[in-house]
């Protein structure tokens, strides 16, 4: 009880911080933040991407994005070594209640569509809302659906690892190409910017986003797969 009161008191304290922040916050009517305004004005011409956010994410702050990808990579790696299950600990005949037919059959129709949408999202990341992370997540959701429909399905670890690694390396290589051929690490302008608003525009940006998409999709699938596989471990 005392603890509850303490917690409430603490939340009130945190609330006070937020309240004080709210007092100085006001909703602007113009984009007057200098940094934001700079991107709004120049992203299109400098980077060539219609989606300004993508321009920021992949180019201006591409270094952050590399870090982001690394975080997913770390999470996937940690999970796969933590949940590593020895073969002899696997229970092959784990009881699972049979899935409904609707789930099984509709998934066969929907999964390819989901994959397609995912790919569409990351290929068009520089033009429309979306991008590599979103596309990758959509793809992984497709994998998840497959797994729900067929719990005994195994994600091919080798394939996933291969896609993941190759796309990760490609991302780094593209970054280094930016350094060597253009203005700096992760500069997208070593490829022509192309015509604004078309598929083949914004230099290397779409390429990077494709690799990010593949990598994220592979990593998330990997995580899901590892967790699912771990369910088969014998209860010791």
């Amino acid at each position: 009880m005392i603890k509850k009161i303490l917690i409430i008191g603490l939340l009130a304290g945190v609330g006070l911080i937020f309240f004080n922040l709210l007092q100085v916050y006001h909703v602007p009517t113009e984009l007057n933040n200098k940094l934001g305004a700079y991107y709004a004005e120049n992203a299109a011409t400098q980077v060539g991407a219609a989606n300004i956010i993508s321009a920021i994410v992949v180019t201006y702050r591409g270094f952050d994005t590399l870090g982001e990808v690394t975080i997913l990579f770390l999470a996937a790696s940690i999970i796969s070594f933590v949940l590593k299950v020895r073969k002899e600990d696997i229970v092959s005949d784990r009881f699972t209640s049979p899935n409904s037919e609707i789930l099984i059959y509709s998934s066969q129709i929907i999964v390819p569509v989901i994959f397609l949408v995912g790919i569409y999202i990351f290929i068009n990341g520089h033009l429309t809302p979306g991008g590599g992370f979103q596309g990758g997540a959509v793809i992984a959701s497709g994998v998840l659906l497959m797994m729900l429909a067929n719990p005994s399905m195994k994600v091919s670890h080798n394939l996933v690892a291969f896609v993941e690694s190759i796309s990760g390396i490609a991302f780094v290589v593209l970054g280094v190409l930016g350094l060597v051929l253009a203005g700096g690490f992760l500069d997208n302008r070593f490829l022509p910017l192309g015509e604004f608003g078309t598929m083949l525009s914004a230099g290397a940006l779409p390429l990077i986003y494709i690799f990010i998409g593949l990598k994220v999709g592979a990593e998330l699938s990997n995580i899901i797969g590892t967790i699912s596989y771990n369910q088969n471990e014998k209860n010791s």
Partner: protein
């Protein structure tokens, strides 16, 4: 030049590549991992070289081809180069150390490992605050993974705690970042600094959330339970990396974000740092798990460095140097200690005595401990010195006190631990396997500490004068430790004699220094001679003895405050190791060390006040203290008195001297104690009598001296242990010395010098001879001895002459001391104190009689019938000293006249010489004539006795009538057992161990408090999350509550 961006590119490329490898290809994986780590170490090292050697300008690395603030930029300057090199080295060595574990866990863990090291690099280099956040997250997620390396059950709990806490922290950081962006339109750190957030309404809150998160990342006390569990539960190799690597990076973050908030936040940094430093170390005092203990220590050290950052306005341009000095010591020592812990695999610190079988590892362990505490020649010594001096120069006494208090609490547990590892029985269940990949990193860190100490010394004011030559000799002896005793002994003696020959002309007839140099080095030679009696190798003895003597000689040579303190600490370190060598010396070595460190900090404080008074580093600054003058002199005096074992500070001495090895006792008693006397004399010389407050101080110290003399002698009277009796006698004698010199008259000082010289000679003889007898008879108890006069006649004569000197009986020089002392007392008018001292002198006879009677006279014990004389190697130095006593007694004017002349510069002349005759206003004394008269009378008497004895009936030594005792069960019937029971009834109340009880209570209180305090670490992760939020709220209310 390889641009640092390749650190990121190559490591990430490798990490992703490792993902493809099959799980069986661990060999290739480890080659790739080590290769990557070598590469990044090369990159950062190459930049470091450029900055240090070619003085290259700071380099900015732009990403994405746009300038900041539009794109993220990294910075590579001298600071960044140093820190990334440090991180990469510990990463590389840690990778080598962990190879087995990483291989076992699989290739994924290798990828995580290198990404972790890389993220720390970026944290150091990045100049974009959001990017900083991203890489902080990378490092904490990687940490969360690496904790699990051994898949231990507890590690999952620690990991969960860690992730929950860092999760809360990083979300608050995000709030700070986004609002900083909102207020200042920039994510670039330089942009945010330029925007001056504090001047913007609400900017302070944004800054607060950033700062509180960064501080929480540093695991401030008490919101750090989650951090300590990580240190406890993970593989020590990972803990090493977290402690040395992550902490380094996180500290630099605090440093580089500091300018954003300006001076408003700095005091909070300092306060939180101080609380963490003291609190964390206090917790450590009750800790027995080595990894957890190291965790507390790590957090404490980080607190200290945070404090330094917070105190930067006072430290000015030295901030970086000071911070770096302490950081590098912490870095190398902590990495080394964690790695050692990984080798020893003991669950409690007692198990570290397994190191006793591995002297080189034990040596490294000692190195790390001393480096953490801040002993010379390690970088932290210079760091702490500069820190304290700079703070004193700005009058920041409270901060100085906090730092010294924290350091002291740290010493409490570190030296307990070191003592355990040196003295406890080697545990049977712990075996240390040799694995090159685990040994190499530890060795390299040890070497780094010595190297950095030498490298950083000249950056400190006065540091260029430090003489490393004696230290080099110590190292040589350590390297030659495998040789037999007689070789090392000869080498040591030769070295010391060579140094003496070189030193004396340099002293330029500075008589006081010459006398003490004679005592220190001459004494060193004589006591070392006795070492020829030892057989075997005596591992570790010679380096440590020589370390102590290098410290002592350094005191003589010191011209600056820094050199003096440097030598003082060396001497302390060396003597600690000598004392703790005794069989039962663990607790005594420990209390010696604690008193010494406490004393050293008092001295440091005093020296700092002296420095601050005129910003003058030379030793002469002691003569011109204007800052808190009285306090400064008091602190210095108290500091020196811990070494002279004055009343109240004496409890370490009886055990330390009594239990030491037979030739160590004279070293630490006859010689080492004189270092305190030297310090006091130096101090009083500089202080003079005119200084404000000095009159009162001297008066109080005079009483302390008198009472010390009394209580020391009383303590000796009731001792049954021969060596402890001598030890108590030392306390008493040092009391006389303190008493004499506090009178601040020529006579008083002459008495002081006489007592000093006498005590050196007779105490060396007594400890040598009695020590030899104790070893020979195999007991310390005097009631188990007796009748040795016929077995050991030479020893008897030596002891007899010594006690005549102590007793102050003419014709020997002890009388000269007494005569001078009482003249001085009467002249000064300190009658009451004089009575106490006189009373003490009477009591001295009691214990002297007891000593000589129970050891040499009385009945020979049955089991001692076949005893022979003690080794000639012990008798030779003793008889050389007896010659010294005789010469000093017969011709005191040879020594006392020049001293008297020297003293006339300071004090009015009151002793005149006429030939061999010394005059004062009260009378005269003639040493030479007295000697002639007494010797003649003695010879005549002896002749008569010899002639007369022919008619005497001889009684055998076993005649009960003669001896009045039974040869068996000597403890009840030995004539001198409890011989002074009657006096004990009358005076026993004076020896009740009031002082011991007092110090015991102090220590119990500290430990109880620590035990109570650490209950907050309940182990519940939710509570830890609560602590984090509580910390945020409380900090907010205190700092910005009014907003």
């Amino acid at each position: 030049m390889v641009t640092p961006i390749y650190i990121v590119a190559v490591i990430l490329g490798l990490a992703f590549l490792l993902g493809i490898l099959k799980s069986s290809m661990t060999r290739l994986g480890s080659i790739l991992m080590i290769g990557g780590l070598v590469f990044i170490t090369f990159v950062s090292g190459q930049w470091l070289y450029e900055f240090l050697v070619n003085h290259r300008a700071t380099d900015i690395i732009y990403t994405a081809g746009f300038l900041p603030p539009y794109a993220i930029n990294l910075q590579m300057g001298l600071n960044e180069a140093i820190l990334t090199t440090m991180i990469n080295i510990v990463g590389l060595l840690g990778g080598i150390y962990l190879l087995d574990s990483l291989k076992k866990t699989g290739i994924n863990s290798m990828a995580i490992f290198i990404v972790f090291v890389m993220s720390l690099n970026v944290i150091v280099m990045t100049r974009d605050i959001f990017n900083l956040f991203v890489f902080l997250e990378i490092s904490s997620i990687a940490t969360g993974g690496l904790i699990l390396l051994d898949n231990k059950r507890k590690a999952f709990q620690a990991g969960m705690k860690y992730i929950i806490a860092t999760g809360i922290i990083s979300n608050f950081l995000l709030i700070g970042i986004i609002f900083s962006y909102y207020f200042a339109s920039s994510l670039n750190i330089d942009g945010l600094i330029a925007a001056n957030l504090m001047s913007i309404k609400g900017g302070a809150i944004a800054l607060f959330t950033i700062y509180v998160s960064i501080i929480l990342e540093l695991k401030p006390f008490p919101a750090n339970g989650w951090g300590i569990d990580v240190y406890t539960a993970s593989n020590p190799g990972i803990s090493a990396l977290i402690s040395a690597g992550s902490a380094t990076a996180a500290l630099f973050v605090a440093y580089k974000l500091m300018p954003m908030g300006g001076s408003f936040w700095l005091p909070y940094f300092a306060i939180i740092g101080a609380i963490t430093f003291i609190g964390s170390n206090l917790m450590g005092t009750r800790q027995e798990n080595p990894n957890r203990l190291l965790g507390y220590s790590s957090i404490g050290q980080v607190g200290l460095i945070l404090m330094i950052i917070g105190l930067s306005p006072y430290l000015g341009k030295d901030t970086l140097l000071i911070g770096f000095s302490i950081l590098i010591s912490h870095y190398a020592a902590k990495a080394g200690l964690f790695w050692l812990s990984g080798i020893i695999k003991s669950k409690n610190i007692q198990g570290w005595s397994a190191l006793r079988k591995h002297p080189y590892l034990l040596f490294l362990f000692g190195t790390f401990i001393f480096a953490l505490i801040g002993f010379p020649p390690f970088p932290s010594f210079f760091g702490k010195w500069n820190l304290i001096m700079a703070l004193a120069a700005h009058g920041q006494y409270a901060w100085m006190t906090a730092i010294l208090a924290g350091s002291f609490t740290e010493a409490i547990y570190l030296f307990k631990w070191l003592g355990y590892s040196i003295k406890l029985e080697v545990p049977e269940d712990i075996t240390i396997k040799f694995e090159w990949n685990k040994y190499l990193p530890i060795y390299l860190m040890g070497i780094l500490l010595y190297f950095m100490g030498m490298y950083l010394a000249p950056f400190t004011e006065g540091g260029v004068y430090i003489n490393f030559l004696p230290l080099a000799f110590v190292f040589l002896l350590f390297a030659l430790d495998f040789l037999p005793v007689y070789v090392k002994n000869t080498l040591s003696i030769a070295g010391i004699i060579w140094y003496m020959v070189r030193l004396f002309p340099l002293l330029e007839h500075d008589l006081m220094r010459e006398i003490f140099a004679g005592i220190f080095l001459g004494g060193a030679v004589l006591t070392l001679v006795a070492g020829y009696a030892k057989k075997g190798k005596r591992p570790g003895f010679y380096p440590m003895a020589l370390l102590m003597f290098s410290g002592l000689v350094g005191l003589i040579e010191a011209n600056t405050l820094l050199e003096f303190f440097f030598s003082w600490e060396l001497m302390t370190a060396g003597s600690y190791f000598l004392i703790i060598r005794g069989k039962r010396s663990m607790p005594h070595g420990y209390s010696y060390m604690l008193f010494s460190i406490g004393g050293a900090y008092a001295i440091l404080f005093g020296l700092a006040l002296a420095y601050a008074s005129g910003l003058n580093i030379s030793l002469a600054a002691l003569g011109h203290i204007t800052q808190l003058t009285t306090l400064a002199y008091t602190l210095l005096a108290v500091g020196f008195m811990t070494k002279t074992a004055s009343l109240g500070l004496h409890i370490w001495l009886p055990g330390a001297h009594g239990e030491a090895e037979s030739d160590v006792s004279p070293m630490v008693s006859a010689i080492l104690l004189k270092a305190g006397v030297f310090g006091l004399m130096l101090l009083f010389f500089y202080m003079g009598t005119g200084t404000p407050g000095s009159e009162k101080l001297l008066y109080v110290l005079g009483w302390v001296g008198a009472l010390t003399a009394l209580s020391g002698n009383l303590g000796a009277v009731f001792q049954e242990d021969a060596k402890r009796l001598l030890a108590y006698s030392s306390i008493g004698q040092l009391g006389y010395i303190l008493f004499s010199i506090t009178m601040m008259t020529q006579l008083g000082w002459l008495a002081g010098f006489t007592y000093t010289i006498n005590h050196f000679m007779f105490k060396a003889i007594l400890f040598l001879v009695i020590g030899g007898i104790v070893v020979k008879l195999g007991t310390h108890n005097m009631y188990e001895m007796g009748g040795m006069i016929k077995k050991m006649p030479y020893s008897f004569v030596a002891v007899l002459i010594s006690i005549i000197v102590i007793g102050g009986i003419p014709p020997l020089s002890g009388f000269a001391g007494k005569w001078l002392l009482y003249n001085a007392v009467i002249q000064k008018g300190w009658y009451f104190q004089g009575v106490v001292v006189f009373f003490a002198g009477v009591i001295a006879f009691l214990y002297l009689f007891k000593l000589i009677h129970s050891v040499f006279l009385g009945q020979l014990k049955d089991n001692h019938r076949n005893m022979k004389e003690i080794s000639a190697w012990i008798l030779i130095p003793s008889y050389i000293l007896i010659i010294g006593i005789m010469v000093f007694s017969a011709f005191p004017q040879w020594v006392l006249k020049p001293i008297g002349n020297m003293l006339t510069v300071y004090f009015p002349k009151s002793l005149y010489w006429q030939g061999t005759r010394a005059f004062t206003s009260l009378g005269y004394w003639d040493g030479t004539t007295t000697m002639i008269v007494v010797v003649t009378a003695f010879t005549l008497l002896l002749g008569w006795l010899v002639i007369a004895s022919k008619k005497v009936k001889r009684i055998g030594q076993f005649n009960i009538v003669y001896a009045a005792e039974r040869p068996y069960r000597p403890e009840t019937t030995h004539v001198s057992y409890n011989i002074y029971a009657g006096y004990k009834k009358a005076l026993g109340f004076l020896v009740t161990p009031v002082v011991e009880t007092f110090w015991e209570n102090v220590s119990d209180m500290v430990l109880d408090f620590s035990g109570w305090l650490r209950r907050i670490y309940s182990g519940n992760m939710q509570n830890y999350a609560l602590h984090v939020v509580l910390f945020i709220v409380v900090f907010y209310l205190i700092a910005l509550g009014g907003l």
